[in-house]
């Protein structure tokens, strides 16, 4: 029996510790072990994340020392001469993701507005379900479909069409391969639409009904209410959702590797093959012949890691600030 037996302690609240009450010795030991195991698991988790960062920095150290910051803007990638630069991969990653978020942002937010504001339940539920399932489709299946269905369609139908009518623009000039930046961007758009649509829909649904009622009572139509009252009040959160989706696009690997063409070149044309940070790692990591080559690939991984952490941090901050602003509202 412990001494605590006589001391009256407060009954726990949901927010505080579960128990401050009298315990037998055996219970006290079990309790302590329980607490220790929870803390230990949490420390293991923190150690894993710390290890992830440390290992990436350590692995890319040779490359960081050899090329310095110029690694970021050098466009030479030559395993034979052991000269490595990340620019073509950063370019490919940024452009393909930009296409993806531009398309997925428009389609996803529109779908969210429709599902949250206009669609009757009987329509909204199955469509929401299908869009959520789209998020579950494995990347490699998207890649397979992109390679054998989307790329031929773009290569034979859409790209020639764009070139015929908009070929004067440099982005639609040049040889059409079917695979390339545009194909990768559109496939990515399809992959991240569910993220945008699902989060934006939830945020729109969370907008207080009083705002809609006030707007309608002022004579606005439902469309005007949706676009001028509801959307603006959820703007910060929806922007956050888009940034989150952008983060997914930036790091996506397998599907992009299958349709982007894998050529480390910077070209004005969206039809041209390109390369991304993640796909060059996927393709060349097991074939890297020198330790500097391996280190350069690890540095690409480190860049990807830092970009994704920054992008996700920004996205969380935006959505958090919106929820907090809504919480303050009476």
């Amino acid at each position: 029996m412990s001494i605590e037996l006589d001391s009256p302690r407060s009954v726990a609240t949901a927010s505080g510790r579960l128990s401050q009450r009298a315990l037998t010795t055996r219970q006290a030991i079990a309790d302590r072990l329980f607490r220790i195991s929870l803390v230990a698991a949490t420390l293991v988790f923190v150690a894993i994340i710390g290890g992830l960062f440390v290992e990436l920095v350590q692995g890319s150290w040779d490359s960081i020392v050899a090329f310095g910051p110029a690694f970021l803007w050098s466009s030479e990638w030559n395993p034979v001469t052991n000269h490595f630069g990340a620019l073509p991969f950063i370019f490919g990653t940024v452009v393909s993701s930009a296409i993806a978020i531009a398309v997925a942002g428009v389609v996803g937010i529109s779908a969210a507005v429709f599902l949250a504001e206009f669609a009757p339940r009987a329509v909204a539920r199955p469509i929401s379900f299908l869009i959520e399932l789209l998020a579950a489709v494995p990347s490699v299946v998207f890649g397979l479909w992109g390679l054998f269905v989307l790329a031929p369609i773009l290569g034979h139908v859409a790209d020639p069409f764009l070139q015929r009518y908009f070929g004067f623009l440099p982005i639609f000039s040049g040889t059409i391969y079917g695979i390339g930046l545009l194909t990768a961007g559109l496939l990515l758009a399809l992959m991240i639409v569910p993220t945008v649509a699902a989060i934006a829909r939830d945020l729109i649904l969370a907008v207080p009904n009083e705002l809609r009622e006030a707007s309608i009572s002022l004579g606005a139509t439902r469309w005007e209410t949706a676009t001028r009252v509801v959307l603006p009040s959820a703007r910060a959160g929806i922007l956050g959702a888009c940034v989150l989706a952008l983060g997914r696009a930036l790091g996506e690997t397998i599907a992009v590797t299958m349709v982007i063409g894998n050529r480390p070149a910077i070209s004005a044309s969206l039809f041209a093959p390109a390369y991304t940070l993640s796909s060059v790692i996927a393709n060349e990591f097991t074939e890297a012949t020198s330790s500097l080559y391996l280190s350069a690939l690890l540095e690409l991984g480190l860049i990807l890691f830092i970009i994704s952490v920054a992008v996700n941090g920004i996205a969380r901050l935006m959505m958090w600030s919106m929820l907090r602003a809504q919480g303050r509202r009476p």
Binding site: F45, L52, L133, V137, T221, S278
Partner: protein, 284 residues
């Protein structure tokens, strides 16, 4: 504008056009999923036969063969990943739910959110540097570790939410009966939170079952039967990738068959997660 006034026709047309356009976008997203699924089913169905799921891959040029070793490999790698991540994930979630106030807990939550956005290929590189390079040997275990790390954020978040979702009255009831932290959590809170924890677990398993990128330099793939987790191992998702980018029609067919199997597995896991979630509402 005065209430009851008739709307200008341009405003009405704009509203109608808006609804039609947004509706079209919804239909586009949902329709593309149906197209994609339909295509995988049609292409995959012709590739699936008994030997496809019971035989080893055949060499190029020899038609037939299957992905049996990849199916077994997927089960082994995902199973090991689950074994690694469940204790860490659930206990960390519990920690956040039970003791999770203050800066330290906020930091852990932030790290979990950050980790959920880290590309899987970067996590694959991490697994390579700590579990492949030191042993100079690709292994299923390193792949399982990478998958476990990928599973953690979702498991931590769902476990925390599951425990927080248990009504305060139930927790206080356990305390009123004299149960300590440990007893209260193990015998009262956890059983009540179980459906949601299982949902999170199934969703994280679904997430990694289709994951391919980290496998390229961890599990690496194999043409043979392999059940020893310290050796390179075939995994279904990786086989699909290898077959898809090969120049052989025969292998493309295999890729579609594999994609159908993979998509079925992931959908079953997702629907299972929804069923587990539905079980929760009956409890309270």
């Amino acid at each position: 504008m005065i209430a009851g006034d008739r709307l200008g026709s341009s405003r009405r047309v704009a509203g109608l056009a808006g609804v039609v356009l947004t509706g079209f976008c919804s239909a586009l997203a949902a329709g593309l999923l149906i197209l994609l699924l339909g295509y995988v089913v049609v292409q995959g169905w012709s590739a699936i036969n008994p030997s496809f799921i019971t035989q080893l891959p055949h060499p190029v040029g020899v038609s037939g063969g299957g992905v049996a070793n990849g199916i077994v490999g997927t089960v082994i790698v995902v199973g090991l990943a689950t074994l690694i991540s469940v204790p860490i994930g659930v206990l960390t979630g519990l920690y956040l739910a039970v003791y999770g106030r203050g800066i330290a807990a906020e930091l852990v939550r932030f790290l979990a959110e950050v980790l959920s956005g880290v590309p899987s290929i970067a996590i694959g590189l991490f697994a390579y540097t700590i579990l492949v390079k030191p042993f100079a040997h690709f292994s299923a275990l390193s792949a399982a570790f990478a998958f476990a790390v990928l599973m953690l954020p979702l498991m931590i978040r769902t476990s925390e939410e599951a425990v927080r979702g248990v009504p305060t009255s139930i927790r206080e009831g356990a305390l009123a009966l004299g149960l300590p932290d440990y007893g209260g959590v193990m015998h009262v809170v956890l059983p009540a939170a179980r459906p949601l924890i299982v949902t999170g677990l199934l969703l994280s398993i679904a997430r990694v079952t289709g994951e391919t990128a980290p496998l390229l330099f961890t599990a690496f793939g194999s043409q043979f039967w392999e059940v020893n987790p310290t050796n390179p191992m075939a995994v279904l998702a990786l086989q699909i990738f290898t077959y898809a980018i090969s120049p052989y029609d025969d292998w493309h067919r295999q890729a579609w068959g594999g994609a159908l199997l993979l998509i079925l597995a992931v959908l079953v896991l997702n629907i299972g997660a929804r069923i587990a979630l539905a079980g929760r509402t009956k409890k309270f």
